[in-house]
Amino acid sequence: MPLILTEEQTMLEEAARGFLAEAAPIAHLRALRDSRDPDGVSRDLWTSFGEMGFAGVLVPEAHGGSGLGAVEAGVIAEAVGRNLVPSPFLSTGVLAATALQAGSEEQQRWLPEIAAGRLIAAVALDEGCKHRPDQIETTATRSGNGWRLDGAKAMVLDGHVADLLIVAARTDEGVGLFTVAPGAEGVEVERTLMVDAHNAARVTLSGVKVQADALIGAADGGLFRAVCAYGGAMVAAEMTGAAEAAYEQTLAYLRERKQFGRAIGEFQALQHRAAHLYAELEITKAAVLKALQLLDSDPEAAGPAVSVAKARAGKSSELAVQEAVQMHGGVGMTDEFDVGLFMKRIRVCQELFGDTHHHAERLARLSGY
């Protein structure tokens, strides 16, 4: 498969960029942040995601979705990144949609709701302060006909506005994913206000009782890993979008801003740094697209490619936002300019589904050293 977008994918890219630049430019994030919006996302916008076919990009057509693949979802994630759009696309459109497809018929009835942008589902995976999929300590123990869940989850995207929770918990067999009603007894949800003004929450589960059929698919860890792989690749795509937008703003600033009587973009030292950054970003784009393609064509083999993509996205987008602020100088430090918002979002994305260090470690082990 050529490592470029198909014509259909390019059309989707244009549609997603166009729609989001119109409906949810960065001003949208600022408005939610500055009004201290209690939801932190707009349900109306999420409904529009449904209408555009974005919310259900990964939902099979039989369940009212677009039935497309990871590449198409990545194209949307990238547009989300470019505009720093706060939305349940990642939590619900990617993670929950991926998880629920593996579920029972009963569980799959949530899929049309997701595709329509009517339902927000939060997937509670991480614990502690870093993404460590091998160290899930939340437990699911058999209790009567069902399960009992105990543990504390962190960085639950959209946790405080979720209509449905999906919780990763350790069973005797391995890590399984369980559907939990946010209002169930023993569930506590605390919104955490984040540096990037996107949504996250801490979720505590104390003796939460769920039915036997709350388990999605098998509890062998396979679905959990698959959800993490989709999450990692999608966040990498979002990061490339955000990094590229910050880069474009910086290039524009280099062309416009005058100092010592010349456009600062004429200074060769800045030219070389900008050119180096261009190379870093292009190389990352190839890695991200490859990971997305493999998730579609050979998901079993996609793991290392996702790690390469996420590690590269972390490295190159960090450089992009650092250079963006530095090259903007003083104004880059003000809240008024957007480059700082890109820096904040990239920092959060680094932590989601494992940072550069995590994936480097993972790849080193996979490579046998």
Binding site: C129, E318, E351
Partner: protein
């Protein structure tokens, strides 16, 4: 016992008796910082006492001459004092642009009268100063300065606007670059003047940064009267004063990242991420980067010391301050990137008690200004290329 050993013993005894327990240990919040000034606030009465005691001894400016209120210490004695303060984890008795920046400029360029008038109250932390250099649109290029001072015989009338004036809203006086000769080219025609921020026509407006509320302000001058006796140095040669002072500022910003009471970053990371069986930080890739940064930081501290010693021996090139400023601020940015990685999800919180109102994230974002303020890293590299390397066309 050598003189220096005697001095150490005496200093230790005096500090034991005079440094209150409340001002020992890491600075826990911004409130604890002692800035002094007319409207000074103190976290505790002990903080006030600490400033008074140190100020009286001149140890807030240990190497300044005694006649201007300073400590009159030699460089070696000052090092002993610093190490004794470190030993008991004493918090700084005074943070002061007066001590760091204006004072050295006055000592070098001020009249006897100016020194007598301004230095002692700086040492005692009675007057808080701010700096008025940058202007909107001028950035690192001070030659483009627009604020104008019109000659009215015994005084000037100043009109214009400054930006990035730290703590302008809290300062009592300002040291300021103004254009006194609009015809002169570039760096000529600029003068270095002092005036009271309560003078009619001065207004300030704080700037919100990506890290949140900030000490930076926009400052506006609308027909502000400035007495001619408050000119420092030669008329129209303010650039010389500013350059001298920028070098001091650079060293200071370069060293700013150094909280000497801070624990090694690797240990901080181990607190949050744990260690493996062999006692190593349980994130090998992060650990490697931390170790690299800590080595550079250790060497940088020594370079700071070395440039100080060269300075004292009359062997330092003024542009070495640019080297320290450049390296120190880049290092501090690296340090905070690593702190964020070590903190993980916890360090991303922006409000609330658990994160102490997002202190990790805000500090991280704040460091991004280190390589911009006081002359960008690019400007420092230009200065090194020109004055130390003497490269053509630099």
């Amino acid at each position: 016992m050598s003189d220096l050993e005697t001095f150490r013993a005496e200093t230790r005894a005096w500090l034991e008796a005079n440094c209150p327990p409340e001002v020992r240990g890491p600075v826990r919040s911004e409130d604890e910082a002692i800035w002094g000034g007319r409207n000074a606030t103190f976290a505790t009465p002990a903080h006030k006492l600490w400033l008074e005691r140190m100020g009286e001894r001149g140890w807030t400016a240990p190497e300044w001459p005694k006649e201007y209120g300073g400590g009159g210490l030699s460089r070696e004695e000052a090092k002993v004092l610093a190490s004794e303060l470190r030993r008991i984890q004493a918090q700084p008795a005074l943070l002061s642009f007066g001590v760091w920046m204006l004072g050295p400029a006055l000592l070098a360029f001020g009249t006897e009268e100016q020194k007598k008038r301004f230095l002692p109250e700086i040492v005692r932390g009675e007057i808080r100063w701010c700096q008025g250099y940058s202007e909107p649109g001028a950035g690192s290029d001070l030659a483009g300065l627009q604020t104008r001072a019109e000659d009215r015989g015994d005084h000037w009338i100043v009109n214009g606007q400054k930006i990035w004036t730290s703590y302008a809203d809290k300062a009592d006086w300002i040291f300021c670059l103004v254009r006194t000769d609009p015809e002169a080219p570039k760096h000529l025609g600029i003068s270095f003047v002092l005036f009271d921020m309560e003078t009619p026509g001065v207004t300030t407006r704080p700037i919100t940064l990506i890290s949140g509320k900030s000490p930076f302000c926009e400052t506006f001058f609308d027909d502000v009267r400035v007495e001619k006796e408050n000119l420092v140095g030669t008329l129209n040669r303010g650039w010389d004063v500013a350059k001298y002072l920028l070098a001091h500022e650079r060293t200071m910003i370069g060293a700013m990242g150094e909280d000497l009471n801070a624990r090694p970053l690797g240990q901080v990371a181990a607190d949050s991420l744990g260690t493996d069986e062999a006692g190593r930080l349980d994130d090998p890739m992060l650990r490697a980067r931390i170790a690299g940064m800590e080595i550079d930081a250790a060497a940088f501290r020594l370079a700071l010391e070395r440039v100080g010693d060269k300075h004292k021996a009359g062997k330092a090139h003024p542009a070495e301050a640019s080297m320290l400023k450049y390296y120190g601020s880049e290092l501090n940015k690296r340090r905070h990137e690593l702190l964020m990685a070590a903190g993980g999800f916890d360090a991303l919180e922006w409000e609330g008690e658990r994160s102490r109102e997002g202190s990790a994230a805000r500090s991280w974002l704040r460091t991004k200004a280190n390589s911009i303020e006081g002359g960008t890293s690019e400007i420092q590299l230009n200065i090194i290329a020109k004055h130390l390397l003497r490269l053509p066309g630099a």
